[in-house]
């Protein structure tokens, strides 16, 4: 290829400028420019290149940010819903009120149908049932046909129970404290150890045979008042050795501890009895208790009142 040098006269300029090579170059450049204006092939090429490499580029920009936020929202909601569904399922599957209450967390209440609550309610000891909602109230609310659901939640260390109508209006409401909570199960509450280790029974511990013999001499109504679910006690492991009566009365209910001799050692089965009935047994066990304290004498009357 000859070395390029600037033409020194017009003729050489014309010859070099209008040469085949020059014309081809010029026309090529023009053709490229015109075809780009006409067919936008640069845009098409760039666009296609970007489309091909699309998957290798980052998911950035507001539309992707929206997508991520949606993902976060979906996950958060899914978590909430899953928790709720689990809680609801556990609530539905609960075979006793205490099992249902055990499943409640501080942040998660449980909504169950009125029918399920009635079933669970019918399983708890009658005496405890009275302290929750009186059967008369339950019958009245059921008869009104407005009762739809029951909501239960933990609040300030207690459990709140709301009987609701379809509009979520509270038809009746009650709370269960710790002691009542322990009494809601149909299964007896069991603790390892002996009655001597439980201060609440101090001075009120009797041999089991004496206690049950005394109980046997009382009327069936009193017996039911002391042990409303004897079957569940019978189902517990071991042999009764001693029986303790608590010194704490709560909502006219009193705790009874039955010390059992089991292959695993001594265990205490806890039950709840009605105070007036337990008092009858204690009068037989301790004749010095000639009459109950005056404040407790009103019990049968109060029962009538209800």
């Amino acid at each position: 290829m000859p070395t390029w040098s600037e033409p020194q006269d017009l003729k050489t300029w014309m010859v070099q400028g209008l040469s085949l090579r020059g014309m081809v170059l010029l026309l090529s450049v023009l053709a490229i420019l015109i075809s780009e204006v006409r067919f936008s092939w640069v845009e098409v090429l760039v666009g296609r290149y970007l489309a091909v490499t699309n998957s290798h580029r980052p998911e950035s920009g507001s539309v992707w940010e929206q997508g991520r936020l949606k993902q976060v929202a979906t996950q958060t909601l899914e978590q909430m819903v899953t928790q709720q569904i689990t809680a609801q399922r556990e609530a539905r599957e609960a075979s006793s009120l205490s099992q249902l209450i055990d499943g409640l967390t501080a942040s998660q209440g449980a909504m169950i149908s009125a029918a399920q609550f009635k079933t669970l309610y019918s399983q708890i000891p009658e005496a405890v049932a009275w302290t929750l909602f009186s059967p008369v109230l339950m019958l009245r609310i059921s008869a009104e046909k407005s009762w739809d659901r029951v909501y239960m939640e933990r609040e300030n260390g207690q459990v709140g129970i709301y009987l609701l109508d379809r509009g979520n209006n509270v038809l009746s409401y009650t709370t269960l404290n710790e002691q009542q909570l322990k009494s809601t199960g149909t299964e007896p509450h069991i603790k390892a150890g002996t009655l001597d280790g439980q201060p609440e029974f101090a001075g009120r511990i009797y041999p089991a045979d004496r206690f049950f013999m005394a109980l046997d001499t009382l009327s069936p109504e009193t017996q039911r008042g002391v042990l409303s679910h004897p079957g569940t006690l019978l189902a517990a492991q071991g042999t009764p050795v001693r029986v303790g009566v608590s010194d704490e009365v709560n909502a006219d209910m009193i705790r009874i501890g039955i010390e059992m001799d089991t292959p695993q050692g001594r265990q205490i089965v806890l039950a709840v009895g009605q105070e007036w009935a337990v008092w009858q047994v204690r009068m037989l066990l301790e004749p010095r208790l000639s009459k109950p304290p005056s404040s407790k004498m009103r019990w049968p009357l109060r029962r009538e009142d209800r």
């Binding site: 006269d9 936008s40 976060v72 509270v170």
Partner: protein, 664 residues
């Protein structure tokens, strides 16, 4: 060297220069391309994916959808009215069907104007470029951002059909008032589907995306009409319609949807609901999770509340001669005369209507829930209940209205005065209450103690800060209208407190319940004492400082209390029927006093009670009269207003008081 040779040499040099500049520009662009392409965003496939976020919908108590947040209603291109497509193309990008993502001629022209005409910036973005910008980029104006936007536009053009691009574009552009996409816009502004838009409606809508706030037809109808004319002119210029069609469309009156304005995204009630939701679920869930939120709002009542408040404040402004004041004075007045109204259902605590100011758009500060303004005498019911409960007094007991000086430990004695600056001597408690006598209230609080007043207020649901000082009984600590309405609802319900709420139920997009409000009621006041108080409060409306309510024609059994603070900074009226408790506050944000043209102060009875009456008349229209139920141990007797002794036929203006049998 001849001239010709010199000319040719110059031409050659120019060609070389141009070729060099061209080559350098090409290389520069290529380098820029290499740099820009590195972190260019990925384009989602399909492009319609941008619209698949589920919407959070908010419903009123009767199931009417009042707000949709996020989520986009995607309308297929075939289902959009043809005039709208034409109007949009004529306005935004009339060569859309021809270019491949960039309009080269328009871009060169815009570059020339921007570079060489000082102070001018011309845009040349095609619809594809706008779509790229809306999907991926911020609104920051830089050359690199513009170049990257152009590259993405080229990719979109290469990857998707024109129909897909146009469909994505019209389904995501903002039209203002919370409406994104043509489907939502057509429903929001005209209450019809996108396919039913006429040329007049389509041209109005096509003009909005340029500046949705500036051309908002609800707020600036004139500007919107002018912009519509520009759109129609563009359609004529680009040959999409004839001049006659444009004139015809311009002449057509466009009917905007009536409810669009009142139940728009920025109402105070919805603002309060949104804040609650964000606190409970996080903003991500609220805006991107697709919740179904069922509120307690009564849409009709909300409309009545807004109207009553706006009309009432306008009347007050006329009385105060504020309507003709200069702009400077208005600026000094901050947001002008403002007000708030909250209505709560007595037996549930459901908030039925909530207005936090005259116009959310101008002042989004929600005075109904956030403002803590002194309630003045509106706080006296808590004092009087405390007196009836703790001091075992009766409404017929006698007190003396006289100048008082109550010693305060370590401070100057407290010497409250009556509003009228006059003293009327002996009077029964009920009269002192209905006439809102401050000196009697001061004597009572000095006896019962401020702690008792605070205790009653807390039992009724007042949560704002209250300090145990005597003046608390005269309402010197700020509370919100929501607190007042809910606390008075406790009196209305016979002493049972129902916490106020505005969200009944929240569901996820599949209808699974996330939250339900349980309507709890707690007895916090003695039913009989409460009835005695309610009877005294009824006296305020029938014969006392709030009797303007009766003069305005509100005839249902009702009770309430006015409140006015020092220098007439705040005017309150809170009252209730057995079903609805409503609190109204009027005042300036900066606390300037309210006085009429003649210098007379605007009291609660004059400023807030008329708004209350107008609202309650409409809100309770058609309701049968229902009296407050008296407990069995309540009986009534007429007493001498000054001595409290049993009234005879000779007694002037006897006062009927509610007594408990234990006092008989």
């Amino acid at each position: 060297m001849t001239d010709s040779l010199r000319f040719f040499r110059a031409v050659t040099a120019f060609i070389y220069l141009m070729a060099t500049v061209g080559a350098l520009a090409g290389m520069g662009l290529f380098c820029l391309f290499l740099v820009a392409v590195k972190d260019l965003p990925q384009v989602p496939e399909p492009i319609g994916r941008i619209n698949d976020t589920p919407a959070t919908e908010i419903f009123s108590a009767d199931g009417q959808r009042i707000l949709t947040i996020g989520g986009r209603e995607t309308v297929a291109l075939d289902d959009v009215s043809y005039p709208f497509i034409q109007a949009m193309l004529a306005t935004e990008d009339h060569r859309f069907w021809e270019h491949r993502g960039v309009n080269k001629l328009r871009t060169v022209k815009a570059l020339w104007v921007t570079l060489f005409e000082s102070g001018k910036i011309q845009g040349a973005s095609t619809i594809t470029q706008q779509l790229a910008k809306n999907l991926f980029f911020s609104f920051e104006r830089t050359w690199v951002r513009k170049f990257r936007e152009l590259l993405v536009a080229l990719q979109i053009e290469a990857q998707f059909s024109k129909q897909e691009i146009l469909e994505a574009y019209i389904n995501q552009i903002p039209f203002g008032v919370g409406a994104y996409g043509i489907g939502e816009a057509a429903r929001t502004f005209f209450g019809k589907p996108a396919g039913g838009l006429t040329l007049a409606e389509a041209s109005l809508l096509a003009g909005l995306p340029k500046s949705p706030t500036r051309y908002n037809p609800f707020r600036y109808p004139e500007r919107a009409r002018a912009r519509q004319q520009v759109v129609l002119q563009r359609m004529v210029t680009t040959g999409m319609i004839s001049r006659e069609e444009a004139i015809e469309a311009q002449a057509v009156s466009v009917d905007l949807r009536a409810q669009g304005r009142s139940l728009r995204v920025d109402s105070y009630f919805l603002d309060a609901v949104m804040k609650s939701l964000e606190e409970t679920y996080s903003p991500e869930v609220v805006y991107h999770g697709g919740l179904r939120v069922y509120t307690t709002l009564d849409a009709g009542m909300q409309q009545q509340a807004e109207t009553a408040l706006q009309q009432g404040i306008a009347k007050l402004e006329a009385q105060m001669d504020m309507t003709h004041r200069s702009e400077e004075t208005r600026v000094e007045d901050d947001n002008g005369l403002q007000g708030a109204l909250v209505a709560v259902e007595v037996n549930t605590g459901a908030v039925k209507a909530l207005v936090g100011g005259r116009d959310f758009f101008q002042t989004p500060y929600n005075r109904a829930v956030q403002d803590n303004r002194q309630p003045g005498s509106g706080f006296k019911p808590f004092l009087y209940y405390g007196v009836l409960e703790n001091l075992d007094k009766t409404p017929a007991d006698v007190m003396v209205d006289q100048p008082v000086s109550i010693p305060v430990a370590g401070k100057a004695p407290w010497k409250p005065r009556n509003f009228k600056r006059t003293y009327e001597g002996a009077m029964v408690l009920k009269k002192a209450f209905t006439a809102s006598v401050n000196t009697v209230a001061a004597q009572l609080v000095s006896t019962v103690g401020p702690d008792a007043v605070i205790n009653i207020a807390r039992r009724c649901g007042i949560t704002s800060h209250l300090a145990p000082v005597y003046s608390v009984a005269l309402g010197t600590f700020g509370v919100s209208p929501l607190e007042m309405a809910a606390a008075y609802a406790t009196f209305a319900s016979g002493g049972v407190r129902h916490p106020p709420y505005w969200i009944r139920r929240v569901e996820d997009v599949s209808g699974r319940v996330l939250q339900e409000h349980i309507i709890t009621g707690e007895r916090v006041l003695n039913e009989s004492i409460n009835f005695q108080l309610v009877d005294m409060m009824a006296g305020v409306i029938d014969d006392g400082t709030g009797n303007g309510v009766r003069r305005m024609g509100f005839a249902l059994p009702a009770a309430g209390k006015t409140g006015t603070t020092n220098d007439y900074n705040d005017a309150w009226f809170t009252g209730f029927t057995p079903n609805l408790s409503t609190s109204v506050w009027v005042g300036f944000d900066r606390g300037q006093g309210m006085r009429d043209k003649n210098g007379a102060g605007i009291t609660g009875g004059r400023g807030a009670a008329p708004i209350w009456a107008q609202f309650m008349k409409q809100a309770t229209e058609g309701e049968p009269p229902r009296a407050f139920v008296a407990p069995p141990d309540i009986y009534f007797k007429k007493v001498n207003p000054e001595t409290g002794s049993l009234a005879g036929f000779w007694t002037r203006d006897p006062v009927t008081v509610a007594m408990r049998k234990k006092h008989s």
